[in-house]
């Protein structure tokens, strides 16, 4: 498999990848890290995809950082407010600059980070950097604009609200977490969203806390040099003042018993089931997360025995997928299933639980483990098909460790993990007292 990476480097990116790194790095691009005195980090990844540059700015603040009661959804709200003007640019001036750059521009928020991005032609790099620097350091929005934008957030909640899986997740996290802020979704509770218009001052405080260089990494990928990137970063972000706020996220106490919740859905739907176990946090040093990452597709992916039985053979389920993201704090290893007939809910739940239990007792098949390692490597190679796609792959890792190197480290762990390791780790996490199960059914439908 290492040959694959070597080939990738050699054929496509020979100018970028030094020879000595070819055999050991999964992430095949040469990159540079530059730390400014104020705590801001710049990661530059020159590629040979011509003309385009992707600028990603990753802030290590997401809904995880929303510690005050009644204040869920503010990291996401801020993703919106950041488009509401800054000291030197009105929203209209901002739009015009990005329009002239032919830019695709947007932002996203999740539990752990908020990511802002623009994909555009390289000749517009300086005006775009200057524009971004202003809003990150000198955001300026009126209370009226703030209130209007809070309604757009409500609009986002509304457009999501017809999807039952949004509600399923809301119930799952509220049940699985009691102290930690993963208890609320990134969108936040509806009552908190409806209260947002009244919280202008809190919003100012949120910006003051987190929109600081020590929380932020600039990622530039594409037709750009390190010198150019560093020069512009120093010029426009060099005066940014470091903050003082330190996030103090409440730790989730150990779970002592299995938990259950059910959701009544107002309109006709097929039943949904979420079966979750508390899992380990992201690590590029300890093997726990890596071991369960490898198990996830083996146990629950499309080529798993369970999928083949429930979806293809018995045809009782039409969607079955595991979800086990990378997070700084322990989160959930969840299996979602959409069940065709409500009478099969119990059966499907038992089958999923038995599969979790099975892998605490028997090691995974070596051939499947090897195939999974292969899949992970090719999957990354296939995804990195443009500068913006490379930035997209990197941004979550930048949010976790502020360096692309963590990808190589975690993939080295994947190489090390054995079948026995997976069994051992599974038996530590897939315990009944770590479990949360949520069922969503149409109101009035019989289970």
């Amino acid at each position: 498999m290492k040959r694959l990476i070597a080939l990738l480097s050699l054929v496509c990116f020979s100018a970028a990848a030094p020879a000595q790194q070819k055999d050991t790095r999964l992430f095949p691009y040469e990159y540079a890290i530059d730390d400014l005195d104020n705590g801001l980090r710049l990661v530059t990844v020159p590629t040979d995809f011509p003309n385009m540059v992707s600028l990603y700015i990753v802030v290590q603040a997401g809904s995880r950082n929303e510690v005050e009661p009644g204040k869920s959804g503010y990291a996401h709200l801020f993703e919106h407010i950041m488009f509401r003007g800054s000291e030197h640019y009105t929203p209209e001036q901002r739009d015009l600059i990005l329009k002239k750059a032919g830019a695709e521009s947007n932002a996203s928020t999740n539990f752990d980070r908020t990511t802002y991005y623009e994909n555009f032609s390289k000749e517009d790099l300086e005006p775009v950097m200057k524009l971004e620097a202003d809003r990150f350091q000198r955001l300026k929005y009126s209370e009226a604009a703030y209130k209007t934008e809070s309604l757009a957030v409500l609009g986002e909640y509304n457009k999501n609200s017809s999807d039952p899986t949004e509600k399923l997740d809301e119930a799952l996290y509220a049940t699985a977490f009691t102290k930690h802020t993963y208890a609320h979704t990134t969108m936040g509770f509806l009552k908190d969203i409806q209260d947002m218009p009244n919280q202008y001052n809190y919003s100012l405080q949120f910006y003051d806390r987190f929109y600081r260089p020590e929380y932020t990494t600039i990622l530039l990928v594409g037709d750009v040099s390190r010198e150019q990137a560093l020069g512009l970063t120093k010029k426009y972000f060099g005066e940014w003042k470091r903050g003082t706020y330190v996030s103090n996220i409440p730790a989730e106490p150990a779970q002592t018993a299995s938990r259950k919740a059910s959701v009544d859905w107002n309109s006709p739907t097929l039943p949904w089931l979420a079966v979750a176990f508390r899992g380990p946090a992201y690590s590029d040093e300890k093997i726990d997360k890596a071991a369960l990452d490898l198990l996830s597709p083996i146990a629950f992916g499309p080529n798993s025995e369970l999928y083949q039985r429930l979806v293809l053979k018995e045809q009782k389920v039409d969607e079955l997928q595991p979800d086990f993201g990378n997070h700084p704090d322990p989160e959930l290893f969840t299996v979602y299933a959409r069940i065709k007939d409500p009478k099969d809910i119990d059966y499907v739940r038992e089958q999923i639980l038995m599969t979790f239990e099975r892998f605490t007792k028997e090691p995974v098949d070596q051939a499947k483990l090897d195939a999974t390692r292969s899949r992970i490597r090719y999957s990354l190679a296939l995804r990195m098909n443009s500068s913006s796609a490379i930035a997209n792959v990197l941004a979550p890792y930048i949010g976790l460790r502020r360096t692309p190197e963590t990808i190589n480290k975690v993939f080295a762990l994947y190489q090390r993990v054995t079948s026995e390791d997976i069994k051992k780790i599974a038996s530590q996490y897939f315990l009944p007292n770590n479990q949360t199960i949520v069922t969503l059914t149409t109101k009035g439908a019989t289970n």
Binding site: P50, F120, K147
Partner: protein, 493 residues
């Protein structure tokens, strides 16, 4: 990679086509990835009456079913270590099977891909699963889980009622329930022919690979080309509204009408510029977005289109290979709070009306042209997108997309754009779809022209307040018999 870009440019204009040759679009390069787009110029517009959904189900049976020698689970197992897959996309006049693999896996991947298309198993267990999946997609996923896509797709059904485009690409529930494996076999035999085939390949192709693919696909029967002239739908004059009722928090709105412009038309670039200015997809650089969302906080976004763009809530740029002879101009208003439904609809129609009456300014023309000229690079960033666009260019008989868009934009003036607005943007046959729980109240308010004042949570400028006064009584001219209230269970049925 710079060399590749030049190679792509040169090769994309060389379309291999001669009487005995399968038409191919080949974009060779030195990327270690190889992309396939195997297209049949057929689709849901060729579903026989009463068998709506058979085109899509046939494609699903190929992409998500077994071959004669391998069951589907064996195919999944074989694809797994390569991290590759075979996807199908069915639109009205195009069906495409696509996938990308690493060149190291090319032989193994292609062996599977080829058999899936050329030697399908048509197994009863796959048929049962995939037909049920199609029915559940319409009945549950689309009707009950995504009001925006429901509204957007239903608008097409309303506009194209009685036309070959008149049903969702996945079909109708009642037809799907009656389909048999024999229907799928028949569709495959008749439409998966050499006459409908276009081979698309891109990336680090080994020497002779394109020829090998062509030789393998010659196995298909010659058949007859599915070349049907699709006429502009004949709509009755006047506005018509369909209100789809379901129990939902908010109201989704879509409206539009047919246009006689597709990518090959003289006015395409001019109208593309208008749609970009008025409602660039998922961008704050959209005039409607600025008026409805930014200024008023009505919803999450407001966009306009001149080409079919499904799944827009999940995508920043459109999927290629959705080319059609007939297109509509469409406005998508993302869900609004129930009490603002009529105001939001009026506001969007008011802005549309202004656009039609006033056209666009020189300044707007210049900046939007600059945007689109550069944005072409964003649309064709990946190898797969470049290949898809090149195949669409073949379909429309136009040059390579980037160059075509840029050259067309360079040629036009603001006067051309405003003339195109006058020629193509109409209000005399508007079709409107709302998805809401408040059907009766909305129907009444529209028919009686009841004012729909709006209240805000923050002070608004005099300009907005004055405009709101106009919007709140903006008349939607529609006769009582032209507002239908439709239970969601009847949509796609």
């Amino acid at each position: 990679m710079r060399k590749i870009a030049i190679a792509l440019l040169l090769c994309s204009s060389v379309l291999l086509a001669s009487p005995n040759k399968i038409p191919s679009v080949v974009l060779p390069g030195t990327s270690p990835l190889v992309t396939f787009r195997i297209m049949f110029t057929t689709g849901s517009a060729f579903d026989p009456s009463g068998k709506e959904g058979v085109a899509n189900l046939t494609a699903s049976m190929l992409a998500q079913g077994g071959t004669r020698s391998l069951t589907y689970d064996q195919i999944v197992q074989a694809l797994y270590p390569m991290a590759s897959s075979v996807s199908s996309q069915v639109d009205k006049e195009m069906t495409v099977f696509s996938g990308t693999t690493h060149v190291e896996n090319l032989d193994r991947y292609y062996a599977l891909f080829k058999d899936m298309l050329l030697d399908p198993g048509f197994r009863p267990e796959d048929f049962k699963r995939l037909r049920e999946e199609a029915i559940n997609f319409l009945r549950v996923s689309l009707r009950q889980s995504n009001d925006e896509e429901l509204g957007k797709e239903h608008l097409y059904n309303v506009i194209y009622a009685g036309h070959p485009y008149g049903h969702h690409n996945v079909g109708k529930v009642s037809s799907l329930e009656k389909l048999t494996i024999q229907d799928v076999r028949d569709f495959y035999r008749t439409h998966y022919t050499g006459a409908n085939l276009v081979i698309g390949l891109a990336g680090g192709l080994p020497k002779g690979f394109a020829e090998r693919v062509e030789s393998d696909f010659k196995k298909l029967p010659d058949g007859i080309t599915d070349k049907k002239r699709m006429d502009k739908p004949k709509l009755q004059a006047g506005t018509r509204i369909e209100i789809v009722t379901r129990d939902t928090r908010s109201t989704a709105i879509s409206f539009g009408f047919p246009i006689e412009v597709n990518r090959s038309s003289k006015d395409w670039a001019a109208l593309a510029l208008v749609a970009s200015y008025f409602g660039q997809h998922r961008s704050s650089n959209s005039y409607l977005y600025q008026r409805l969302r930014e200024a008023r906080g009505l919803n999450y976004g407001d966009y306009a289109y001149i080409e079919y763009f499904p799944r827009g809530m999940f995508l920043m740029t459109p999927d290629p290979n959705l080319a059609r002879q007939q297109q509509i101009f469409q406005v998508w208003i993302r869900p609004v709070e129930a009490e603002n439904s009529v105001f939001a609809l009026r506001a969007a129609l008011y802005e549309y009306d202004k656009l039609v009456r006033n056209g666009i300014s020189k300044e707007v023309f210049e900046t939007t042209r600059e945007f689109l000229t550069k944005f072409a690079n964003v649309l064709t960033q990946t190898q797969s997108a470049r290949l898809g666009y090149a195949m669409d260019s073949r379909y429309y008989d136009i040059p390579e997309f980037d160059a075509y868009l840029k050259s067309q934009l360079a040629k036009i003036t603001v006067d051309d754009v405003n003339a195109a607005i006058r020629r193509h943007l109409k209000t005399d046959r508007m079709r409107i779809v709302l998805v809401t729980k408040n059907a009766d109240a909305i129907r009444d308010a529209i028919l009686k022209n009841t004012p729909s004042p709006i209240t805000y949570n923050s002070p608004k400028s005099k300009e907005i307040q004055d405009e709101d006064k106009i919007i709140e009584t903006f008349r939607i001219n529609v006769k009582p018999e032209d507002i239908a209230v439709v239970p969601v269970t009847r949509v796609f049925e």
